[in-house]
């Protein structure tokens, strides 16, 4: 599919904002949705909607089949088995579920969880809180030159007490890519498991959980062109099989008495209550959509645009670009204009139709390290093109001039 045709699959991208062409470069926050995803959700409601598992009638059987087909599609995206995929609301819930369930199993005094100061709050707080609760230690990896998490730095803090290593695959602030395959080896050599926050990687690059050797992988539907309110936790089968449920009621049970209960096997025991069936159907459709374009191709495009943008931004005097100084490996570019608060930058860009995020990006500890309370971030995805980069660069240059003038 050529790029123009691809863009036309996304109804929102055709809009204008403030009379300007919409330049949506905030896909790291959430991605726009292609027609096939919207249609899959609608088709589900109009043809098959019923409660899953519970019904004996044909409609309910179709709904159940749709839900399980979606699980298989999401599994295929990361080369997992369908029964290794738990549907959740998103990355944050996946990581909370995991920290609570697996944390309960393995954490206690004398043990530790290794993570990094560059993590999104969603991969920091669940571990911080479970470690606090269970008297385990939370250890931090020293960040490398460009802010990346290196296998060497991980190895330096891992010891025999380490039970969990939890790191992001791609940083949502710096855009750095972590070598999770080598960190998996370090984890396994220490008898620990590797938890990967895949919120920014699964939508953007080919992932093979088996080849990488990751034990758990969390990701969100809404960042991969799927609906809001749906996400997944991949867990290696043997591990899921040992984990207690954290969430009770509905179809996750086997037998219930007034005083106790037994639970279904994974992944069902983790999916209490009526699931987000339409959301799962949409996420499955998004997975197929991404695979049909090819994750290699998507990654190639992200990287090309991000490097173009970073180079262009660096050429604007008074603009500071964060993250890798050399070649970028992901679609995320974070920057600031000297002397102008990122919020003011984002407002100026908004007036030009350019959507960037400004703030701490849910990474307050990392921001403190960067010495910034706030940064602006552009992030690219498969539907972005060179025009988006040009529009961004022109808007940043104009914003710089504007604030220079009014600060006169």
């Amino acid at each position: 599919m050529n790029l123009a045709a691809l863009r036309s699959e996304f109804p929102l991208l055709g809009r204008t904002e403030n009379g300007k062409r919409l330049c949506y470069v905030d896909s790291a926050a959430t991605a726009q949705k292609p027609q096939v995803v919207l249609d899959a959700v609608r088709r589900y409601y109009v043809e098959d909607n019923a409660n899953v598992y519970r019904g004996v009638y044909a409609l309910a059987a179709r709904a159940t089949q749709d839900y399980e087909d979606a699980r298989a599609d999401v599994a295929a995206l990361v080369n997992a088995e369908p029964e290794e995929i738990i549907f959740t609301r998103g990355t944050t819930e996946s990581l909370n579920l995991l920290a609570r369930s697996y944390g309960e199993l393995v954490l206690g005094p004398g043990t530790n969880v290794v993570t990094s100061p560059a993590e999104h709050h969603s991969n920091l707080l669940p571990w911080q809180q479970v470690a606090l609760g269970r008297g385990a230690e939370l250890r931090f990896v020293e960040l490398g030159e460009d802010g990346q998490v290196t296998p060497e730095a991980v190895a330096a803090v891992v010891d025999q007490g380490t039970r969990v290593i939890a790191v992001a695959h791609v940083s949502n602030v710096l855009g750095t890519v972590t070598d999770v395959a080598r960190i998996a080896e370090i984890a396994h050599a220490a008898g620990a498991v590797l938890v990967v926050d895949g919120a920014q990687s699964v939508p953007h690059m080919p992932i093979d959980v088996k080849a990488l050797g990751v034990d758990f992988l969390a990701f969100s539907g809404h960042k991969m062109c799927g609906p809001t309110g749906i996400g997944a936790l991949y867990g290696r089968k043997e591990l899921l099989g040992r984990m207690p449920p954290v969430y009770f009621g509905g179809e996750m049970i086997e037998e219930v008495t007034l005083t106790g209960a037994t639970f279904k096997e994974a992944p069902y025991r983790f999916e209490g209550g009526t699931p987000n069936v339409a959301g799962a159907v949409g996420m499955g459709a998004a997975a197929r959509f991404l695979m049909s374009i090819g994750l290699e191709e998507i990654h190639r495009r992200d990287v090309e645009l991000a490097n173009m943008a970073a180079d262009g931004l660096r050429r604007i005097e008074g603009v500071r670009v964060y993250g890798p100084t050399g070649h970028r490996e992901s679609g995320v570019v974070t920057f600031n204009i000297d002397g102008v608060h990122a919020h003011d930058v984002a407002t100026a860009l908004d007036a030009d139709g350019v959507c960037v995020r400004a703030g701490h990006h849910c990474c307050q500890p990392l921001m403190r390290r960067l010495g910034a309370t706030s940064t602006a971030r552009a992030s690219f995805y498969l539907y972005n093109d060179a025009d988006d980069v040009q529009q961004l660069l022109a808007a940043v240059a104009a914003a710089k001039e504007f604030f220079r003038r009014v600060a006169g």
């Binding site: 004996v56 044909a58 309910a60 059987a61 159940t64 086997e254």
Partner: protein, 148 residues
């Protein structure tokens, strides 16, 4: 999709007069399974000898006509068979209900349940006994060393 295709006379007969209903005195292994979506319960006893032959089997439970008839038919069918053969019967039956190609000749009375494939939500009723059996055999083979 027709009810008559599912609730054949032989099915209702197995339901109302289950064969091998009850317990074995000295089973090699017992398994209890739930069909959580309906609350049905199934208990299976199997006796496997050193040559890997299912010497005897018996079941008990509460459930719909399809699950109980399937249990009666299946237990009846695999008694005296080698484990490998019994497994093949289970697999063949599952294939049949999922509308895949299947060698009906090994199925005996079970073939009468083919109509269940028209009611996908009921397939798990018909295959509950096979799941119990496969679990039992897996555990016997894992624990006792492979009795073939």
């Amino acid at each position: 999709m027709s009810l008559d295709d599912v609730y054949r006379q032989v099915v209702m007969d197995h339901y109302q007069n289950p064969r091998h209903h009850g317990h074995l005195a000295h089973p090699t292994l017992s398994v209890g399974l739930h069909n959580p979506s309906c609350g049905d319960e199934l208990h299976l006893d199997v006796l496997v000898d050193e040559d890997g032959v299912v010497r005897d089997a018996a079941f008990e439970g509460q459930g719909c006509s399809i699950s109980m008839a399937a249990a009666s038919m299946f237990v009846d069918r695999v008694r005296g068979k080698k484990i490998a053969e019994a497994r093949r019967i289970a697999e063949t039956f599952k294939d049949l209900l999922r509308r895949r190609e299947a060698d009906r000749s090994v199925l005996g009375d079970l073939e009468a349940l083919e109509g269940v494939s028209q009611f996908p939500a009921r397939v798990k009723c018909a295959t509950l006994i096979m799941n119990a059996f496969e679990q039992a055999i897996d555990r016997i083979q894992a624990e006792g060393g492979d009795p073939k």
